[in-house]
């Protein structure tokens, strides 16, 4: 059907491509004018480093939401992987510990996936359960004491620099490129979107829906593992109570603000990246303006509701699938 696009549709259609970067630029300019500290290159670089914290986790969540599900256990998973991985450091050394952290994280994601597909429990509520299970396991394992990290290799993941660029940023960009290839250039990526668009149609066309779902949750776990290493390295310790507190929320906000529809189907990986930048710079800017840090809770919550409503308007105007 050929339909002449109205002005609303035009704006809505371009929101993801231009709206987010434009929003970021406006935000950046406003805070740069307001705060001299904000506009320093040091602050910019360190913000980019903080962006990687949310950005890396957003990749997995983007796959998950495109697949039509959520995973709200990521924050607790981050804490559990952080304490398990960093407690392995004295035993096995840096490189194997990072490797094991990623394996553990992927396994936890895999467990989520198995629960959801084999026991046929809705993803949201399953991961609500595992959210508390992972968190309490992290508490029990460490007896509520932070694990301090002294290993050079692990610390390098969060604090190191290569040619003046923080290594965390390089990791994030590599993750995004890998995820982009996985999503756009492989059959698996198309399966993820197909299952998210119409699960039943995907199943009837011969896609192994359950395997795709389990893999998606494993991918979520893997990227949470990467984020966990980077974040705990940056903090210098893994605290079972503090690590990843509210992380699921920031990550979902980034993905949704990035233009991925909640109901599943196609999404926008780079949008999630820009959204992660917006959230990080917004928090930093508010912090530098001496805004009470509790306002940040409110601000991010409002951004999430705004983002979902925006997506909804966009898809309604474009006459696409309902969110």
């Amino acid at each position: 059907m050929v339909r002449k696009a109205g002005i609303g549709a035009k704006i809505a259609g371009r929101w993801d491509s231009y709206g987010l970067p434009a929003l970021f630029v406006v935000l950046f300019l406003v805070f740069s004018i307001l705060s001299p500290t904000f506009r320093t290159s040091f602050n910019f670089i360190s913000n980019l480093r903080f962006t990687s914290f949310i950005g890396i986790g957003s990749i997995g969540m983007a796959f998950c939401i495109m697949n039509g599900d959520f995973d709200i256990s990521v924050g607790s998973m981050l804490a559990l992987v952080g304490v398990l991985g960093s407690s392995l450091l004295p035993l096995v050394g840096g490189v194997p510990a990072v490797f094991f952290a990623l394996v553990i994280a992927s396994f936890l994601g895999f467990v989520n996936g198995i629960f959801i597909t084999k026991l046929r429990i809705p993803a949201f509520i399953t991961t609500l359960g595992t959210m508390f299970i992972f968190r309490s396991l992290a508490f029990i394992y460490t007896d509520n004491a932070p694990v301090y990290i002294s290993n050079k290799f692990w610390l390098f993941m969060g604090n190191g620099k290569v040619l003046g660029i923080p290594f965390a940023i390089i990791i994030m960009l590599l993750c995004y490129c890998a995820a982009f290839v996985l999503l756009r250039k492989t059959p698996f990526g198309r399966f993820v979107i197909a299952v998210g668009t119409n699960r039943e149609a995907a199943r009837l066309s011969g896609i192994n829906v359950e395997r795709v779902k389990v893999l998606v949750f494993t991918i979520v776990g893997f990227f949470v593992g990467v984020a966990s290493v980077v974040i705990s390295a940056n903090l210098g310790s893994a605290n079972p109570g503090m690590l990843g507190q509210g992380y699921e929320f920031q990550v979902i906000t980034a993905v949704v603000l990035g233009g991925t529809a909640l109901g599943g189907g196609d999404g926008n990986l780079w949008g999630a990246f820009f959204a992660a930048m917006i959230i990080t710079f917004l928090k930093n800017g508010l912090g530098l303006e001496q805004v009470n840090s509790y306002w940040q809770f409110v601000a991010v919550g409002l951004v999430l509701i705004f983002a979902v409503s925006m997506n909804r308007i966009k898809y309604t105007v474009l006459g696409q699938k309902e969110v």
Binding site: F70, I72, F115, L119, R120, I121, P122, F124, I125, T126, L128, G129, T130, M131, F132, I133, R135, S136, L137, F139, I140, D143, N144, G246, F249, I252, V256, L262, N292, Y294, W295, Q296, F297, V298, V300, G301, L302, L304, I305, V308, S309, R312, V323
Partner: protein, 320 residues
Amino acid sequence: MVKFLKLYEKIGIFIFFVAGGIFLSIASPHFLEGDTILNVIAQGTYGAIVGFGMTLAITLGGFDLSVDAVMALTSVFISILIPHMGMILAVFFSLIIASCVGLVNGFIITKLRVNPLITTLAMMTIIRGVALLVTGGRQIVIQKKEFMFLGTGKILGVPNPIYIMIVLFVIFYFILYHTAFGRHISAVGSNENAARISGLKVDFIKIAVFVLVSFTAGVAGTIRTSQALIGIPTMSPGFVLVAITVTILGGTSLSGGRGNLWGTLFAGVFVSMIYYGLNLLGVQIYYQMLSVGLVLIFALFVDGMRTRYLEKIKVKGIKV
């Protein structure tokens, strides 16, 4: 099998409840004393009270993740308002504020058409932020000692929270099973489109249910505040897990349309029995959260199995 599953939906939680009771009375000689039993029930009241609201929400086919933040907000407002207007008015206004959160939830869900999970997830953060903002992150001590009576006092030897729970149970039971509104909730939960087409005011029903959920959270927050005699902006993080666990364990189906308030009542006390048992074992407090999480997964597993079997039977029935 179908009969078994249907029976389980009705009385499954009673079996757990009785089994748990027998186990605890063997494990601890003090369990069967009247005071202990009343205390265990009193400890289960918060879960059950918020569970009543959550039962309506899940029957409607929604969730409310903002309940623990609403509890904190109620707690904060009570502690601030008591010096200005006395106990009764302070509780009254705090409950109204709590219900207003539900009103906002309902409006965002129905008018902006945002997914209920995402709405209440966002509201959880926002309300928690507001509670912290109002107090500046501090806890506020309540000077009026009389306020403790609400949560810790006893009438005829029975702790007051139990009376509150019973009163709310009767009200919610009446609402869900004996009013047109209650049947409309089930109708929307079973099939929203059908309900809309048959002329039900779906938006109004949804908003009302979310107000009721927030109200129950407000009541639970009030009882807790009265027991602690402090307004706590960080009150009971993760309590939403208990509320949802209690509801699903009680036999309310996740697929919507069928609420089981009796089940919720007993499941609330059952969770309190688990806590009591863990205390007997002398393990750390983190095991409470772990056990509730595991119970939730188990309850979900049974619910999923039930839904699947009922679907299978339906398909077979059509073939025959």
